[in-house]
């Protein structure tokens, strides 16, 4: 603003120099030769760049040599607080009736599980048998359809299914507002 005030009372004879770098009074954008370093020699530049590139390549080689590591799974690492304490649980001695009851219960559970397993095996067996029979009949019907049926189904995968819920969703339930933030620990090598 000093310059602007300066310009107001100066007689408008000389073209004003906007800055002290502006040397020629004729043109606008010429300036004194800037007293910077003389132009860097090209050889030194190229060498420096090459050296830098080589250093980077060496670094890259070193990093690539190291094998990638798997992310450690927190499920399998017992937290220290459970292994440090020495407290021991002291259980009361079992009465013979109680132990007998437990043994009989265990036997019943074993039998139940065996029946369940056998039923599953039987179900799989019947499914496979029915499928084979159906395919046999289809083959007798038409060879083309049989071949098409034998092929793998591209639309089968990916396959997703949510587990069954204990109760159906509540009608007209208004969940409170909130947000979910991911705080998983990020491991870097």
């Amino acid at each position: 603003c000093y310059f602007s005030s300066c310009s107001s009372w100066l007689p408008q004879r000389l073209p004003l120099r906007g800055s002290h770098w502006q040397s020629s009074l004729l043109e606008f954008r010429t300036s004194l030769p800037v007293r910077a370093q003389p132009k860097k020699k090209k050889k030194v530049d190229v060498k420096k760049e090459q050296a830098q590139k080589e250093r980077m390549k060496k670094k890259l080689k070193k990093l690539e040599k190291a094998a990638p590591e798997l992310i450690p799974i927190e499920d399998f690492i017992t937290p220290l607080k459970y292994s440090e304490s020495n407290r021991v649980r002291s259980l009361p001695p079992l009465s013979p009736e109680e132990s007998e009851r437990r043994v009989l219960l265990l036997k019943k559970w074993c039998l139940f599980k065996q029946k369940q397993d056998e039923a599953e095996k039987k179900a799989i067996k019947t499914l496979v048998e029915c499928q084979q029979e159906a395919l046999k009949e289809l083959r007798l019907e038409s060879e083309e359809l049989y071949q098409a049926a034998i092929r793998r189904d591209e639309g089968l995968f990916p396959f997703q299914r949510e587990g069954p819920t204990h109760t159906p969703p509540l009608p007209g339930y208004d969940p409170p507002e909130g947000k979910c933030t991911d705080i998983t620990k990020v491991y870097t090598q």
Binding site: K57, L63, P68, D75, I124, L127, R152, F159, I183
Partner: protein, 174 residues
């Protein structure tokens, strides 16, 4: 020098193998070298067989998902389906915040951990696939999310640690 240079063993003589002693020492177990984590080849499968398939089970409950994964693994063993790998994916932790009824501050509700187990199978025949799917679905426990998809390299890479330095250098180089 003459003693070391002598190669004659005199097998007929009772002094054969007189200098041997290594058979008396306890067997040395070869040093376990750190095996490099390399990706196994992903098979694409033929027209009548699927290639590598990942059965991924996700849930908030650790024991449930672990037991279900064991069950699926044993089922595949019993049905003579080749199981190439059975591993666990890293756990994800989520912080659930909810807005109080009268207030502007977010209140901490719970910290949930999501666990995922993967059973990888190979060579599933096209006729048997729907049967296997039915069986697994019928025994799917509550709250366990089942996902079956083909195995890709990206799936394998998601198990590995990220290397930001290497990526930075690669970005700079190119």
């Amino acid at each position: 020098d003459a003693l070391l240079g002598c190669h004659r063993s005199y097998r007929s003589r009772p002094t054969h193998g007189i200098g041997k002693f290594k058979y008396l020492l306890p067997k040395e177990v070869p040093k376990k070298r750190k095996e490099k984590v390399q990706m196994k080849e992903i098979s694409a499968g033929t027209e009548y067989q699927y290639g590598d398939i990942n059965i991924q089970m996700t849930s908030y409950d650790l024991c449930l998902v672990e037991h279900f994964a064991q069950y699926v693994h044993r089922l595949c063993n019993r049905l003579s389906i080749q199981v190439t790998e059975s591993y666990a994916m890293p756990t994800k932790t989520n912080e659930v915040l909810y807005l109080e009824e009268r207030g502007s501050k977010m209140q901490l509700d719970a910290v949930l951990t999501t666990h995922q187990r993967v059973v990888q199978i190979r060579g599933l025949s096209s006729t048997f696939a729907p049967i296997l799917l039915e069986v697994i679905q019928s025994s799917q426990p509550e709250g366990v999310h089942l996902l079956m998809k083909q195995h890709t390299e990206a799936d394998f890479k998601s198990r590995l640690k990220s290397r930001p330095e290497l990526e930075e250098l690669l970005a700079e180089m190119s």
